[in-house]
Point group: D2
């Protein structure tokens, strides 16, 4: 398989998620990074390019120039990764989609629902694909959880509990903390905990259960004085068919690093999973002993095995799950129809769903936790 | 120390909590069981008494007769344990308090708020004490958690998360399951999950933090067809001073037995505790490594050590915590003023608070999760 | 059931294990403590008796006097608990057995093999029973483990791994630490880690597997300067039938409190258990997912259920397991033949086995870990 | 940084560890795979090359031809990864080292000590480097453990306990299980559990403590009928300076996948680590509460941070640790002297140490667990 040619917007020196995307794109050999607008400051952009082995010729300081130039090259990029603050996702994605270049975009899709709708319109007109990196969906045992729910192993779903607890914003961050700065600026982020991690929890719940949300009620709180966005979010969901969902996202829960958990309770069984030790899925049939299903073992399902790289007991982690999204994106781009045989790829539809979720949560919370129909 | 003379109402053959109270009363040698109305059916009452080594003369089938007769005896009981279904707690407690006999009552205090108010009036007129067995407050590390909060180790409290998850009512119970029968009959129980285990979670949160509740909003759900009471309860609390609390009580969470957990997040640190492995308390200072405080160890605090029986690493469990409430009740009865130096004893005030909580939850849920001021 | 009348030798003020025996004897109401020689110093003995509610008349400072006097009383004790340092177990037990009084003795049975043989001779002549409190055998899931091995669920046993790790002797103890003082004095203890906790691990392995030991090889080490007994012991066992066993007992393993674990690997399955969280038994069939069997649940076996007091998820601990030994001793004494239907009671035979084990370990270690035939 | 050109011997279709090396070499972008002798069968070799994107011109079926041809090319490989069965490691490594091509070799270094000595002689004459992939040394918290020991945080080391438990060879493997076939053939593997995983445990203990071994005593057992190599190994080590070490490696411990654990007990503190959840390091100071140090957190040390890719709470796993060895090898090759500033690179010396260990274990076990001086 020849690697696809990848560009990147954002992710220059000092950034975090850009490095993650680069490692994820490399792990399975599906992409080669050949171009980038790693920063809007030209000096920083070109220094980053040099460090990353991207030729000076294909180092840009402006994403629009990059989209145009790369589209014009015979060896132009096949796809671009967007790893900027949230408020830039939409415009950048639109620029590349308009040129027919595939987009792999970090989440949340945009900063506002209006941006999301604009992007949707552009994406619908483009022949290029749009991929959204809700990376937790790449964990093998999340795939197994989804498969188990789909096969009815849990019976009818009653309760979906998704939590994402962090503590890194428990205090006011240092002024030079760039990650914290844009995430707590509502203009750049579009929301606090609800947008940054609440969307992950919501997406994961939706991905695994397949349940559409009818209504939600949300309470967004801010626990650190002076903060302009929420840092603790509680959302109740009413799913179609009667199941209930509950989301808790917090950035002030001291002692939690990236404690994303999912528990699904049905009439016949439950499953429970935690991101910090993702190679284990707890399965309990009603009246039976809890069973510890491990990634790579004989208890792992076909959907899990399809995205498993190494045997049981040798832990796979965050980068592997992220890399699975890159590999699946490559497969879709390469028209390898086999790849998405379980519809695991996250794209514009899920991005819209996530932005509607955030928007509804903010409106509900502003209206005293009123129930909002999605 | 001469043991106090104890009577019991309820707890005959086939009952569950009566046996727990008996073991708890015996463990520290503070009480001798000498009388009882173990059942309302005379034959079952007397058979139970015989099994339990209670003389026929002091075996009653009627609690009123027992209260009168025991009060009249020179060797009459000092205290009575009430271990009946909830709707009988109030009348029985009133009968014994009226005779000046101390009462040790299982929770919740009554089935309804009206019963609670009636009982309060009687208790205020009685010279006898009323003790409520919110037994989880007896765990040593819960005492330590309370002490740490009180000393300001956590800073200002932001979030209190109390959950009590069970699965034993995940399906419709067998018709002959007596425990399930009365707990799911609203006339006998006064409520479902909210009354049976939600009150424990609420009491525990209050006990540890000392925070009074201003308002609450609750959603009570029923997931098993035909059930007349709630089996999943979600409550948001607004505490005085600004902290928020969240309670989740469920009886349909497959894979959870008595998974009562408490997490308290402050500005300086957090603590986390789980009843199923109660000899551990997690403490995490902001920015620091989580520390595993163990019961009986050098890290245990004076309040924990005061109710610890055996050294670290030899687990104490549910019965020991329960027995601590009996021992502390004995100490109060014996006017050993030292005993309750940390105000740990749970009595009529906490019982009223719990019943107001249940009542407000039911009203809030019936009114679309409206906020109710307590 | 009328409680049996119990005496105690040792266990006065400042002692540890005496209190444990008293709570264990009380929990199920099978025994009433009515006499004692709680210390050899008369003042301390009588002060202890007064605290414990034992009448002055039946408080003794000399165990021989106690044995004689109690045997002569019409209301004399039925049984005596021996909770002294190890080197006194034998003589005291002999004195009471000679009077026909049942003995409940803390482990190890004696300080030396010679004492054990002397005691055996006396016990064989006595009509009274001798019970040895290897208390970890009282945990419900240890009973289940034993039942599973006996029923062949594990197939043929290959490897038995029993470890008992502590850290309380990691440094030289304070001079006034009485518990440490006698345990590190070879004259009083008869051995260090091997006798104090190695015997527990060995007994547990034997109890659960039923495998007789053919040979052993041991290395006893001392890691704290100046200590006269071992504080870390490693023993290899060759069982009849070909299985191998390995015991590790340590008192210098910082971070371990009473970390007694048992793992048994067979041809068909394994089981694993840890005393510090004793309400869980891990069961893994070959090729299958590990299952978490919990005490009191539907997965618990009849042998576990027979010694379970409270439902699943409400932890039972060390005192409950200890109390089960007292209850079973009472049942044997009361000639309730039903009680020991699974031969769970630990007596003189197991005591002899344990002392032969300690003796062989010391000889092997002194001879360069030579293999010793038992 | 320009990637180094990498070749590979072994790792064709159906192999396991080859894929791991390829992912590890790619993750940080330090190597490009450009040549290979992926199998000795030409058809399988070339098919594998095609799948892996290696040009037909540089696909070889004979490693000697590959070494000669690549050495002669102006764009020849800088380094070769050797991922064959053990008995071929030595000859292949010698062929490439003789041509001045760096070698990255899977462990154990060779199948026999004689092969190791031969390889040592060649390596000493070569200007090329030899790297051995004891990959567990790449975990960040193992680096931290080593740093803590080196800084004296644990005081004097008393006990080093290293265990590596698997269960995949609990039964006789299926005839078509290639991984099992060569590993249980003494001619290809040189040993069973002791060579395949015992060397990992031994290497890890040595890497973290830096303690040279003086003597050892080993017992190798075979639990599956007909197996020609050991499947359970127990080794006692006497380190210079008085510390003792214990290794247990098993392939028949049902319920264990790759349960490699390391515990080090010193006079001042202990550390404990488990490979299956490698992002946690337990640290317990004597008399203090256990602390959970997490990878990427504020509690992580400089040595850990130097090999950490992503923030705390997002798990890194086996491939990341493996990739760290590739990155450090690249740094050494690129003469980036900064890289190995903590001497973390595993090379010929550690390989010799490992082979002497295996050889001594086999001799000791054959001689009744006799003590062998290394």
């Amino acid at each position: 398989m020849t690697p696809l040619k990848l560009g990147m917007v954002g992710g220059g020196q000092g950034a975090f998620i850009g490095g993650v995307h680069r490692m994820a794109s490399r792990l399975d050999g599906c992409f080669d990074l050949v171009a980038g607008a790693f920063a809007s400051d030209p000096a920083r952009a070109h220094a980053s390019a040099a460090e990353l082995g991207v030729s000076a010729e294909r180092s840009y300081a402006d994403y629009k120039a990059m989209a145009t130039a790369e589209a014009a090259r015979p060896d132009g990029i096949d796809a671009v990764s967007i790893v900027t603050p949230n408020h830039l996702h939409g415009p950048i994605a639109e620029a590349f989609l308009a040129e027919g270049i595939h987009v792999i975009c970090d989440k949340p899709m945009t900063a506002t629902l209006a941006q999301a709708e604009s992007l949707l319109a552009v994406a619908e007109q483009s022949k290029a694909h749009f991929f959204l990196t809700h990376n937790y969906t790449g964990y093998p045992l999340i795939r197994q959880a989804r498969e188990m729910v789909g096969e009815g192993v849990l019976g009818d779903i009653r309760i979906v509990q998704a939590e994402y607890l962090q503590d890194w914003l428990s205090s006011a961050p240092a002024p030079d903390n760039k990650q914290a700065a844009w995430r707590t600026d509502p203009k750049q982020s579009g929301g606090g905990a609800i947008g940054d991690i609440g969307t992950h929890a919501y997406n994961l719940a939706s991905f695994v259960t397949g349940l559409p949300t009818q209504q939600l009620s949300a309470t967004l709180s801010t626990h650190v004085a002076g903060r302009l966005v929420d840092d603790d979010a509680r959302v109740s969901l009413q799913f179609e068919g009667g199941a209930r969902g509950y989301i808790w996202a917090s950035q002030v829960a001291i002692g939690n690093e990236n404690n994303l958990t999912l528990a699904i309770y049905g009439t016949k069984a439950s499953i429970r999973w935690a991101q910090e030790n993702p190679n284990i899925l707890w399965f309990t049939p009603v009246g039976g002993a809890p069973q510890m299903i491990t990634r790579g073992s004989a208890s792992a399902s076909p959907a899990a095995a399809a995205v498993t790289r190494i045997p049981a007991g040798h832990p796979e982690g965050y980068l592997e799950a992220f890399a699975t999204l890159y590999r699946e994106a490559a497969n879709v781009i390469n028209a390898n129809s086999e790849t998405d045989n379980n519809n695991a790829v996250i794209g514009i539809a899920q991005g819209m769903d996530g932005m509607r979720f955030v928007d509804a949560c903010i409106r509900s919370s502003n209206d005293g936790a009123a129930w909002i129909t999605l």
